[in-house]
Symmetry: C2
Subunit: 343 residues, 2 copies
């Protein structure tokens, strides 16, 4: 039997456990896997592009457990009442090849993206950071806010979005949770005085959400929205002024903010900082940029975290996914066991 976490169960789990606690705990799973980064099989994701979007498969393996995520990205989906990004994922046993765990990952991707951001900010932002600017208050925004509070203790948010309904939704969801929230009058207003700037907008275009003159020395920039070819958010000048940290260089050069730069533009892989093999922040005036695109190992960590978290709970169901005849060579006998008459 394969354990399956459907949408109802993951929502029940998140609501009963608490999103902030989940995010805080998940960071430890992701960081542990980033520290052993070289032990993972890092196959490139396989993309199938169409005029309206992309469907991708993102596999990885640590030699014991195999995992993959199915994820789509369709920027025009919200105009039809659909999610831009939906996902599901599977874990399997490398020894037997049998799937063991299967989960919805629309919610889980939102959680792991926020947890990864907070993990990176813990390594790169100034220790005394207490204010975060958020440009974009869409699907990902509340998860980011809770992850940063849970992991860094950040409590003040300066937010801005061009969509007033998205701002209203953000306030409705987070105001009851004890944040100090300032709704800015512009992106520049939101960014002013912030220790950390999170950009998470969803347009599939090379936009400039953040311009160079808005960025003060010492800031950490958590750039979430530039995550596919042709989609960026940052002024290229910011990348030149700051130091850029990435998940997996080969992928980020295609999908991240650095697609604007030369192919040899210097970057540091964040796992090296976490493993003590590279320097993160050098001083309080340095600008650090996390050029986040999302990588398969984060999904792997999130799936393993969820698998452990729902063990001995009612937040999963067993599904019969693997045909398993008593005699491994007699699949036919299994298939036709209930045959009423002739086959």
């Amino acid at each position: 039997m394969v354990r399956f976490v459907d949408v109802g169960n993951i929502n029940r789990w998140a609501a009963e456990t608490g999103v902030e606690r989940i995010l805080t705990d998940m960071v430890e799973y992701i960081e542990r896997d980033f520290r052993r980064w070289p032990s993972f099989d890092k196959a490139p994701r396989v993309a199938s592009h169409s005029p309206l979007g992309v469907i991708e498969l993102m596999p990885t393996s640590d030699g014991e457990t195999y995992g993959f995520k199915y994820v789509n990205g369709h920027p025009s989906n919200p105009s039809r009442g659909l999610q831009t990004v939906t996902a599901f994922g599977v874990l399997a046993d490398v020894q037997s090849g049998y799937p063991t765990f299967w989960s919805e990952m629309t919610v889980l991707t939102a959680l792991r993206t926020a947890a990864t951001s907070a993990m990176v900010a813990r390594a790169l932002a100034r220790p005394a950071s207490h204010t975060m600017a958020m440009l974009g208050t869409g699907t990902q925004s509340e998860f980011q806010a809770l992850a940063f509070r849970g992991v860094l203790g950040l409590n003040r948010l300066q937010v801005w979005d061009t969509d007033p309904a998205a701002l209203d939704k953000f306030l409705r969801n987070l105001a009851p949770l004890g944040f100090e929230i300032v709704v800015a009058t512009s992106a520049a207003d939101a960014v002013f005085g912030a220790d950390i700037i999170t950009t998470c907008t969803a347009d599939k275009a090379n936009a400039t959400v953040l311009t160079d003159e808005m960025v003060e020395p010492g800031v950490h920039i958590n750039a979430i929205g530039g995550d596919c070819p042709g989609k960026t958010e940052l002024d290229a000048a910011i990348l030149l002024r700051g130091d850029v940290f990435v998940e997996f260089t080969a992928q980020t050069r295609i999908e991240g903010e650095i697609q604007q730069m030369d192919p040899d533009f210097p970057v540091t892989e964040i796992w090296q900082v976490l493993a003590g093999q590279a320097v993160g922040r050098r001083d309080d005036r340095q600008i650090t940029v996390f050029d986040s695109v999302g990588f398969a190992i984060e999904d792997f960590s999130a799936l393993r975290f969820l698998q452990d978290a729902v063990d001995h709970t009612t937040f999963y169901t067993d599904i019969d996914l693997v045909a398993d005849p008593d005699d491994p060579k007699d699949l036919f006998g299994l298939v036709t066991a209930g045959s009423p008459a002739l086959v």
Copy 2:
């Protein structure tokens, strides 16, 4: 909601519908897709290798529907009471990126492999064929026998396997179904006088199941077992004497019998024969070889066939796989809707 066909439901469907009828109907779905082969996105499969086996993702798309299969291959699994190959698959809507259909595919892969073999034999074997030799009576063998009877009317089987238990199992399963079955004393004995030779052995090795002198003029060889790097079944001399037909040349050169040959060894893609763009059999003395490795489009066709076949039946269940908040930007509100207290 996504429709899900689990092991219990596919077995119930197969037993109640009849395996031979399913195979015969499925051939038409596969052939229709092979005839429009150029309209498919043919991404390479993504393999994750380990000492004991391989886990692969096989995606494809026709621009309207996207499909992929997860499949493992672990030759030592039967020694631990497990299946060598298990699989599951998903269909999705290209316009929205949302998954729509999800099924076990261990059974479905067995069905589509046999249906593909029979489809190819209908195009390549001599029209008057009535006897098939089968070298290997493992998991795939009964499905092959029923597909060839359903599609070509073949009723006489000359079978051989080095494992007496596998032979017994084959007889137990198929003798009640009206076949004329002869258990041979050797591979050469099984092949003698046969119109079609099916090789389906499972060793992960370069073995020679069929040697050149066993093969008489006019025979069609349905070579199933050579399906991954380092695994072949045929004497290379047979490939030189006959004409070789493949699914997708680039993949077969790596995985099929022709991995033994030079990279420019001439082959014909079977879709071209089915679409009337290439010649299949020229005369009654020509040896034709189908070097089968299995391709993503066959899985796509099989999934679409199953999706149509179970529509308006009780052979599927609805599962909640896609988180779909009323406001697409308010995933957080959906996740925390049932929150008892603080998030």
